[in-house]
């Protein structure tokens, strides 16, 4: 799995890493049953805090993406594969929506901001409930 993190961005490293592991699964760079590197190995490879990696594994386990077998490492779960298929299907929806937006002469950056704002709006609405 090739991971590229940007420590200087405003996005916490653990969120960046979670996204990238999920992305690697979606693109099948890693597959169900594959083992992820140990916390220590991952921390040393990426030169980031081991507690950050540990947090990523905890959250991925909580989200049902990986299974941590005690003393034996972390493995990508089978059930994730169906999410992968779903994501592929959703890809088509996104493609169509972006085509539509581009036809309105919006720039890439504007599209991104629109999507992020919409998501943020929904998040703040659901938090209030």
């Amino acid at each position: 799995m090739i991971v590229r993190l940007n420590p200087s961005s405003g996005i916490p490293l653990y969120l960046q890493l979670i996204e990238q592991v999920k992305h690697a699964i979606e693109t099948e760079a890693i597959r169900a049953g594959d083992q992820l590197p140990s916390v220590r190995r991952m921390a040393e490879d990426l030169v980031i805090n081991p507690n950050t990696v540990a947090r990523v594994y905890r959250e991925l386990e909580r989200d049902g993406v990986i299974e941590v077998r005690h003393g034996a490492g972390a493995y990508v779960r089978d059930s994730v594969v169906s999410r992968t298929k779903l994501m592929r299907k959703a890809q088509g929806v996104v493609e169509a929506a972006v085509d539509r937006l581009e036809s309105l002469d919006l720039t890439e950056d504007e599209v991104r901001r629109l999507v992020e704002n919409e998501l943020a709006l929904r998040r703040s609405k659901s938090e209030k409930r």
Binding site: P7, S8, S9, G10, I11, P12, L13, Y14, L15, V39, R40, A43, E44, V47, I48, N49, P50, N51, T52, R55, R113, N117, A120, S124, E127, K128
Partner: protein, 296 residues
């Protein structure tokens, strides 16, 4: 939670000059803690207080729960703390090998395995005089001496200062690996934001002897946001922002807010402005740093 380093209202004045001015620090066991500040912000003086190299003018500091001014127990602290300073504290007339052999007997917990590992890793020339080492090599030797004593806590004053980028990465990787392998607590000062962001779990930004921002880095990045607001028409009176707005810039109908907490209330306040549209952006440590330390 046990704090490896704890200070309360720690103060140090030199004459009328206040170097450390009511500093509160809490460093959790096993963490990598980045201590940030501009040159002259009080970083080195704080470290000297922790090591009891200078005596506090007020307040308290403890390491492993032992007050640093408790001379009867100072050896206990010294055995468990490895220290790398800006001005090295090596003997220039000794060779690297002599320096290691000289240091070893002071520490009963000396780790031969770590000594060998770092000699090899850092490519340190045993027969070379310490005084003839480059700045980078000197730092690496200091790091070796600090690590090999089997310290539970490393206090590092600008550990990567004067190193080339490749050597910086090497040192950072070793620090990460030490924390992962041995659970060593690492407290390091730096004015290099990128390296702090890369490996630190907790950070404290010190300015004029005071902690201006402190906390878990992930939490800080989650809490701090930049909110940009555009209103319909010029406002008649200035907005009295609610708590949590750290900084406001205004240009005509556009506001740029730096927010440290209380985001919901701030967004509610924005919605009360005429025809306001908002956008939220994540904030980097660099922005937090620049907005928190005063420039003169």
């Amino acid at each position: 939670m046990e704090w490896v380093i704890e200070t309360q209202d720690l103060r140090k004045t030199f004459g009328k000059q206040s170097a450390v001015d009511g500093l509160n620090l809490r460093v959790p066991r096993g963490s990598i803690y980045g201590f940030l500040g501009k040159n002259g912000a009080g970083k080195t003086t704080t470290i000297e207080l922790l090591l009891n190299i200078v005596r506090p003018s007020g307040g308290r500091a403890s390491v492993f729960g032992i007050p640093v001014t408790d001379l009867a127990r100072s050896t206990e602290i010294r055995q468990r703390v490895g220290f790398v300073s800006e001005d090295k504290g090596l003997y220039p007339y000794m060779t690297v090998g002599q320096m290691i052999r000289f240091t070893r007997p002071f520490f009963p917990g000396w780790r031969d395995d770590l000594e060998r590992r770092y000699l090899e890793l850092f490519n340190l020339p045993l027969k070379k005089k310490v005084g003839d080492l480059s700045k980078g090599m000197g730092s690496k030797l200091m790091l070796l001496l600090a690590v090999a004593r089997g310290a539970d806590l490393l206090i590092l004053d600008e550990p990567t200062d004067g190193l080339d980028p490749a050597a910086v990465e090497e040192v950072l990787r070793e620090l990460v690996s030490l924390a992962a392998l041995n659970g060593t607590t690492i407290f390091f000062s730096s004015h290099q934001l990128p390296e702090v962001e890369q490996i630190a779990e907790h950070v404290c930004i010190i300015d004029r002897g005071k902690a201006v921002v402190a906390g878990a880095l992930d939490e800080l990045k989650a809490q701090y946001q930049r909110i940009q607001v555009v209103v319909d028409r010029e406002l008649d009176e200035p907005v009295r922002w609610v708590d949590g707005v750290v900084k406001v810039r205004q240009e005509g109908r556009m506001f740029s807010l730096l927010v440290s907490r209380n985001v919901e209330a701030i967004l509610a306040q924005i919605r009360s402005l005429p025809g306001a549209s908002t956008e939220q952006f994540p904030v980097s440590l660099k922005e937090i740093f620049l907005e928190s330390v005063r420039t003169n």
